[in-house]
């Protein structure tokens, strides 16, 4: 069996699911680590301190990218429902969506990583 060579729609959906599940997993973990407060502030602080580690700070950019992609792509799908005529332009809309994605990611990445690596 070989791979089905779907187009942009297949890829955008794959990323939508990966980012959706990814964000969901993070959300669950985050509920768990916040829950550590019931064990006492020292445990809570110890775990939450991890978030300040550079690896986590870089991962947070990834998390932001996931949420941003998922929201933009989700809005694109919702627009099809509101105006079904747009379905014909789904590829073009995806390109616009990714342009918006890039425009948002550039400054956000800079702002999020500057405190980690910069002065």
């Amino acid at each position: 069996m070989s791979r089905y060579r779907g187009g942009i729609g297949q890829w955008s959906w794959m990323f939508h699911r990966i980012t959706g599940v990814g964000v969901l997993v993070f959300l669950c973990l985050h509920i768990l680590d916040t829950f550590l407060i019931v064990l006492g502030p020292e445990h809570y602080n110890a775990i939450i301190a991890w978030y300040r580690h550079p690896v986590f700070r870089v991962s947070e950019v990834g998390l932001f990218a996931c949420v941003l992609y998922h929201s933009l792509n989700g809005v694109r799908i919702i627009l099809f429902e509101a105006w079904t005529g747009l379905v014909r332009w789904h590829r073009q809309m995806f390109y616009v969506q990714m342009a918006i994605f890039a425009v948002c990611m550039l400054p956000v990445t800079y702002l999020m990583l500057r405190p980690v690596f910069g002065r």
Partner: protein, 242 residues
């Protein structure tokens, strides 16, 4: 004439435990279609190759198959437009009967489940059931379907769950749901609103890309979804096509 290389997935359930790939080189014109190359294999190299075809001109919908990773009609694809070896597989998601022939029993069951025929309660008028060109335009696109199955078997939602009614049946339902003469909306929407119905669509567009008739399948599916929402809001039996 030129050499054309093909790589075909073969499976004979009476002899093979698993499908296997076989390669063939045949003589064909670059302007011939993949179907011609398959004929060349069957007629001059290996008579045991099994595939469906009838009209050979993109009308009957018999010869949808996966060609170079995409669902296509073998009779509509020109050899010169394809990378070689041309990789030919049966449509995905159906049981393989033999080689490129798949079992479409469930496909046609689902087709019938959406009642793809005119349902009109009133007695027929003395002359035709009149319809304006504008009313006809509403479902013109979905009248073009030839039930080849390329859309349904290109859909990841269908691969994941064979119970999904699938794009082809939704296209057929759309053709009648949006027909101003039809009054079967209630019965059809009941089928399409099930867990196996239109809500399994994930807007992946493989169906639209695969349709050899150029039907905007995704649009038809979204329109049926919207119709269901409108019906749920009204909670009434008003005719869909109005």
């Amino acid at each position: 004439m030129a050499h054309v290389r093909l790589k075909i997935q073969r499976f004979n359930p009476e002899m093979d435990s698993a499908p296997q790939w076989r390669e063939y080189t045949v003589e064909a014109e670059p302007t011939d279609r993949v179907l011609d190359a398959l004929h060349a294999v069957k007629w001059h190299h290996d008579g045991s190759l099994a595939f469906r075809r009838s009209c050979a001109h993109g009308v009957c919908g018999s010869d949808a198959m996966m060609i170079n990773g995409k669902n296509r009609l073998a009779c509509k694809l020109l050899i010169k437009d394809l990378k070689q070896p041309i990789v030919v597989e049966p449509m995905r998601g159906f049981a393989v009967v033999k080689d490129l022939i798949v079992d479409q029993t469930k496909f046609f069951e689902k087709y019938r489940s959406v009642k793809p025929y005119l349902i009109a309660e009133e007695p027929p008028p003395a002359t035709e059931r009149l319809q304006s060109p504008k009313q006809q335009e509403r479902f013109e696109d979905t009248t073009k379907c030839i039930l080849c199955g390329a859309c349904t078997t290109s859909c990841p939602s269908f691969w994941a769950n064979g119970e999904y009614v699938g794009p082809a049946a939704i296209v057929q339902a759309h053709r009648f749901l949006f027909d101003s003469r039809d009054q079967g909306a209630e019965e059809r929407l009941e089928v399409l609103n099930k867990a196996s119905g239109v809500w399994r669509c994930r807007t992946i567009f493989n169906c639209t890309d695969a349709c050899p008739r150029g039907i905007n399948v995704t649009k038809a599916i979204v329109e049926v979804q919207n119709l269901l929402v409108a019906h749920a809001k009204q909670g009434s039996t008003t005719d869909a096509a109005q």
